[in-house]
Symmetry: C2
Subunit: 353 residues, 2 copies
DNA sequence: GTGAAAGCGCTAACAG
DNA sequence: CTGTTAGCGCTTTCAC
């Protein structure tokens, strides 16, 4: 048993025909006789032949893998986008190479380099929070590799992209809060250097301004969108003794940290303070009280992103028209933003302490 | 601007040297003069040259990608394993092609085929729940592609693997429950055709038997480890009017479904019924009451799996000694399995209704 | 219908 | 130090 894989040469030799014939037979070429094909297929099975896609691609000058760069794979949002992407790309015959930037600009640049070197047929990217400089993206374009951005995009770059209407999602959330009669809404968001957080802030600001409230005058924290970051900040913040009537968190994890800090101070959610999340993480509907948040349709975003790429992959033109798809998010009002009254449905479903 | 990527030929031509020299210069070969190297590197940058790893690999007869097959990427457990794998493989110069079997045997076989065809240097796999037949795995071995199984393994196959000590984790959990004075512990598990659920059942059984209780006599549900599956079953089950004092769920999601069904019946967790999870999903510590569960150290599992593969990749021998790494899980006792008393610490941290 | 020959982009003997 | 040559495994004209 040799260490090497069988090649079409091996099959050819065994059958006393040429490699070209074997190649054609394997690809079910019409001009090969049924007999030869059967012969080839049989010995292929016999010798445990596996076509070498790599060699084939090299020869044909095209590939079957697509590269995808995400900040982190173990974020529910991104792993769902990936699922959506694969559901479109796999049936079309493409494999995914997934890279994680870990929210780090240098890593992202590195990822781009490896993907180009691996001659992927296309690249899908959601930018790291750090990313400002987009030379690496321009390099992709210069290399004529179709590129589609999703979720966290760079707005200066005129290429296909799929984004959530974060401005609208955030606006609706703020309107919902204002509709509860709340006038002081603290902002607790991710860094506005990133498009998504900037847009969410803008939506919040717009809603407030429509009610003659100025976002700039609200308490505001901007930091890493994690539980700990929110928890630490809020612990400090609450020492001052005052607390807004609502806290608008741009991530469900920040909401969790915020809620925890509030509990530690003996404050009740939602009766003392309303808290929102964003993203609808799996736990949002499982915790108590259930978290009001925004559903982003991540899998749909993945499918849309993949479809935009496929369009480019299949189109002959080298300069495809950039398309922009905006996915409407959906406000999910649950318990953390609605004051409870005795005997309502919400209380009935809860266990007593 | 041409559509093709620049090659070493282009650089060679421009500098009036040969491709081999360029190749050597690019690889920082010691016998190339500093001057030539500088020349090559500069024109490389100038022409926006990106090495073609594919061609290089074909020539060298080895690759830099590793294939990984998981049931689902958007499961916290698996996406964490992937993170662990990448943290070891990327620094070693490997990329990951990730495939999802979606718990489907045929898809898994398909995945194996594409990975072999893409000449990956190694394959990491966690079997789908359906997988019984292992011909496709034997094909990998026959193709001399290093293979490492993790988490859901096939015990008949004597190859390297990384597993959790599910038997022990489950045993400890059952002992914990028994220690609370509970004697009727319902089993709510995933299908025992899968190694992990089989082992968990065995641990539970052993613990019970040590207390002269027979697992066979306990109520038992075996089904898809999802929230809905547990919810639907429990709704039916509870119609009978009787309910065990504890329910041992082998997944945090099943626990959520179970708890929901219990609430619907007006039963309190943990005071009426203790409920366990398994896996320590991110929400386990966030819900109320907090879920007692088992931490699996998924990222560590990923790292260990990747290391086993690297060993084989780096070792010269074609028949490496199969190694088996067993990761000890950790019981995390939280609130769903401990009866509450007035004024204990646990209550203090809770908000009042 | 099938074979011969060339080449995708790169590397590695073997020369010199 | 650098050039020559051959070839990784496959496809694809161009022949016959």
């Amino acid at each position: 048993m040799s260490k090497k894989q069988t090649t079409i040469q091996d099959i050819a030799k065994k059958l006393n025909i040429t490699a070209s014939t074997v190649s054609r037979a394997m690809n079910d070429h019409p001009k090969i006789s049924k007999k030869t094909k059967a012969l080839v297929w049989n010995t292929a099975r016999e010798l445990n032949y596996q076509p070498n896609t790599i060699a084939s691609n090299l020869r044909k000058g095209k590939g079957n893998t697509v590269g995808m760069i995400v900040p982190r794979i173990n974020r529910h949002f991104f792993s769902n986008v990936i699922t959506g992407v694969e559901s479109v790309l796999n049936p079309a015959g493409y494999n995914l190479i997934i890279c994680q930037s870990e929210e780090n600009y240098e890593k992202e640049v590195e990822n781009v380099k490896t993907l180009i070197s691996n001659r992927v047929s296309g690249i899908l990217i959601s930018l790291s929070i750090e990313t400002q400089n987009i030379k690496h993206l321009q390099k992709i374009i210069k290399s004529h590799i179709p590129l589609v951005m999703f979720d966290r995009v760079n707005e200066k770059l005129n290429i296909s992209q799929v984004i959530n209407d974060d401005e609208a999602g955030s606006y609706e959330m703020a309107i919902h809060l204002l509709g509860q009669g709340i006038k002081d809404i603290m902002w607790m968001g991710g860094p506005r250097s990133s498009s998504i957080y900037r847009n969410r802030y803008n939506g919040y600001k717009r809603a407030l301004e429509e009610h003659n409230i100025f976002a700039e005058e609200m308490p505001c924290f901007e930091g890493s969108p994690t539980l700990d970051s929110a928890l630490n900040y809020m612990r400090e913040f609450l020492k001052s003794g005052k607390c807004p009537k609502a806290i608008f968190c741009t991530s469900d994890y920040m909401a969790m940290g915020t809620i925890q800090a509030l509990y530690e101070k003996g404050l009740n959610v939602p009766n003392d303070v309303a808290v929102t999340g964003y993203s609808n993480e799996p736990f949002a509907g499982l915790i108590s009280p259930k978290l009001t948040t925004v559903e982003q349709f991540s899998e749909e975003m993945g499918r849309a992103t993949a479809r935009l790429l496929l369009d480019q992959l299949l189109s002959e033109s080298d300069e495809p028209v950039p398309r922009k798809i905006i996915i409407k998010p959906k406000l999910i009002v649950r318990e953390t933003t609605q004051k409870r009254k005795k005997n309502n449905k919400f209380i009935k479903n809860k266990q007593e302490l």
